[in-house]
């Protein structure tokens, strides 16, 4: 069963609706997803070709229990071993994988878990990505925070005790240009030790500028590494250009960022192939940029405003756990972030196996931290959420719970140099 993504709003004009339907039903009406748009930087890199050649030839049904056994017995995990661990043949070995993943996590991270929170500063978007609450045809309250509002949100978050922030925008260069994001980063440096960005992909010189403003980590989700599938989900806008997105992390590193984060959105396509490609994207970039810090996320599809039926299809908690254990065994040194899309019980369990970072005090809406944190209602405008979260624990509750799990919550392990 595929997800039913297409939802029409009666707020759309007949012309807009007609265009929307055409994009949805006539593939030829859509621009090529492999062609760069004007202004998009093209870099020379063989990383993409390496990742895709593995992904395209990956036949996970060919792996057997024997391959999985061998992978678990090897001291270092090869690409072939990793493929076995991601295969259905590894499902009966989940507990053993978890034990091995736990040992690797302890060796590299000890008993620590990092906490952070996202801050959405704008939800305008120029793309039509059919599964996303911010998509340009979805009728939601749009908002972009001004400087004072951003600072107020940051104060509220910083007062809660949080020291690491991830600044997000919808993907609209027109509404949230690089200068606007740069100003938000400069403000964030006043209140937080660590500032990361999850914004639309930009060129190397723009990453360099944002780094100089004080950001040091860039997260870009590829959503799916299957470019043909990607084309059917990202119907309009610059986000449609698949290869420009793929090279975003490499541009960010060339722009001087300390670290980059990767992810596929599980549930969009074949999750085993997407998990393979995500990890190999990290693997090959790490070989090319050995100094860079790398991290992986593993989000699954969630319901959005106006479509509560969106779900992660065949990616259950067991499959998600398998992917995360395989990531940890293959890439023991990378950070693994598990977001508030997942439940409290899942997050409490996975931090003891493979995850090293969790978000807390999360809102995926715009300008609503004060009301969400203090319960204080105000009449100020709010922007709607990108997706529904599951684990709504506050910073304090998360800190307490992680300590209760025997872990040391870490708010900062970073210095901007």
């Amino acid at each position: 069963m595929e997800n039913q993504f297409f939802v029409d709003s009666h707020h759309l004009s007949p012309e807009a609706l007609e265009k929307k339907h055409r994009l949805e039903t006539e593939p030829t009406s859509r621009k090529s997803h492999m062609e760069y748009l004007p202004g998009m930087e093209i870099i020379e890199s063989d990383v993409c070709q390496r990742v895709l050649s593995h992904m395209n030839s990956y036949d996970y049904s060919a792996y057997t229990a024997r391959d999985v056994r061998a992978a678990l017995d090897h001291e270092t995990c090869s690409v072939e071993d990793f493929k076995a661990l991601l295969s259905p043949a590894a499902e009966p070995f989940l507990e053993e994988m978890a034990q091995k993943a736990h040992r690797e996590t302890s060796k590299h991270f000890g008993n620590t878990v990092y906490l952070f929170t996202p801050l959405y500063i704008a939800n305008y978007c120029e793309n039509y990505c059919v599964y996303c609450g911010f998509n340009c045809y979805n009728h939601i309250n749009r908002m972009k925070l001004n400087r004072e509002q951003i600072e107020h949100e940051m104060q509220v978050i910083a007062d809660s005790g949080m020291e690491e922030i991830l600044i997000l925008t919808g993907e609209s260069r027109a509404q949230s240009d690089v200068a606007y994001i740069g100003e938000a980063v400069k403000l964030a440096r006043k209140y937080f030790r660590m500032v990361g960005l999850e914004i639309y992909p930009v060129n190397t010189d723009e990453y360099k500028y944002l780094h100089e403003c004080g950001a040091d980590y860039v997260t870009v989700f590829q959503e799916t590494y299957d470019a043909d599938k990607y084309e059917t989900l990202h119907l309009l806008g610059h986000k449609r250009v698949w290869p420009y997105r793929f090279d975003a992390q490499e541009r960010a590193l060339r722009g001087g960022m300390r670290g980059v984060a990767f992810s596929a959105l599980l549930g969009l396509s074949d999750f085993r192939k997407d998990a393979l490609a995500s990890a190999l994207h990290v693997y090959y970039l790490q070989r090319k940029y050995p100094h860079a810090e790398m991290s992986l996320s593993c989000p699954r599809l969630r319901p959005i405003i106006n479509n509560d039926k969106i779900n992660p299809l065949d990616v259950g908690e067991k499959q998600l756990c398998q992917v995360l254990c395989a990531y940890r065994i293959f890439l023991p040194f990378v950070g693994i972030t598990v977001s508030s899309r997942e439940s409290e019980s899942f997050r409490n369990g996975i931090v003891k196996i493979a995850a090293t970072k969790v978000s807390a005090g999360v809102s995926t809406g715009i300008g609503d931290h004060e009301s969400k944190y203090s319960g204080k209602e105000d009449n100020a405008a709010k922007g709607d959420e990108q997706f529904e979260i599951d684990d709504a624990r506050s910073f304090e509750a998360m800190y307490r719970d992680m300590s209760g799990e025997g872990l040391q919550p870490v708010l900062n392990d970073y210095v901007y140099v």
Partner: protein
């Protein structure tokens, strides 16, 4: 044994066990220090660079020498900036220089470490460089003003023990500064072996952090390090590596 002090940059220590602090609960730090009998504890400046209510600095008892490290530095310039920040944060004059241009194995960059050692030694720091055990690099670090040399036993966090044994022995034999074996020591027996070889001290973190009972493991390390030190000082007995010695001496033919 009573006068057997570890001297680093003119400071005297009785304990030869340097504790890491980065990978376990702060509440365990005090117990670990006590059971390890440690007098020096490392801490990452980037971790101490926090506003949080539970600052690691608050958990370290009086009288313990802090050894801030420059983890996170990718080159000499960044290490120097982090060391200066450590001083501003009130962490004292000791600094363990850690420079890594590799996030996978966290192997130290000796060339950059030599540069940072020189700059920081000139600024009055007691510089303890973490390094890959290479004699030429170690000599350069000595000339740059290092107070000790800290070679790795095996990749950090690996608990694999003395993978670089032969090269650490060369440093012990050739370098006049204390050689402190750092990184990769996973068991008390490995720590003991390094001390028997003549290492001046042992630094461990992951081996403790991943132990089932951290304070008990700290005590085990303490005893192993002390045992290894005593063995070294007493002079290890003859060890026959290739069977018995020849009963007919090869030089028996010599007449005067």
């Amino acid at each position: 044994m009573h006068n057997d002090k570890l001297i680093i940059g003119g400071h005297e220590f009785n304990s030869r066990f340097i504790l890491g602090s980065g990978k376990y609960s702060m509440k365990l730090i005090e117990a670990a220090i006590k059971d390890a009998g440690a007098e020096i504890i490392t801490l990452a400046v980037r971790r101490a660079n926090t506003k949080e209510q539970e600052n690691i600095l608050d958990y370290i008892p009086e009288g313990i020498t802090l050894l801030p490290n420059t983890s996170g530095a990718r080159n000499a310039e960044e290490a120097v900036r982090i060391a200066r920040l450590a001083r501003e944060l009130g962490c004292g004059n000791f600094v363990k220089v850690e420079i890594m241009w590799d996030t996978k194995y966290l192997l130290p960059d000796n060339q950059e470490t030599i540069k940072a050692t020189e700059i920081l030694a000139n600024e009055g720091f007691v510089v303890m460089p973490y390094m890959y055990p290479d004699l030429n690099a170690a000599r350069d670090m000595v000339n740059a003003g290092a107070a000790t040399i800290m070679p790795l036993a095996s990749p950090i966090g690996s608990n694999k023990g003395l993978a670089t044994r032969e090269f650490i022995q060369i440093l012990i034999d050739e370098i006049d500064l204390p050689i402190i074996v750092d990184a990769g020591i996973g068991r008390p027996s490995q720590a003991c072996e390094a001390m028997e070889m003549g290492a001046a001290a042992i630094m461990a973190n992951t081996a403790l952090a991943t132990a089932g009972d951290l304070p008990l493991m700290a005590a085990a390390f303490r005893q192993a390090i002390e045992a290894g030190r005593k063995a070294y000082l007493s002079g290890l007995g003859r060890v026959l590596t290739r069977g018995a010695s020849a009963s007919d001496p090869l030089t028996g033919f010599l007449r005067d």
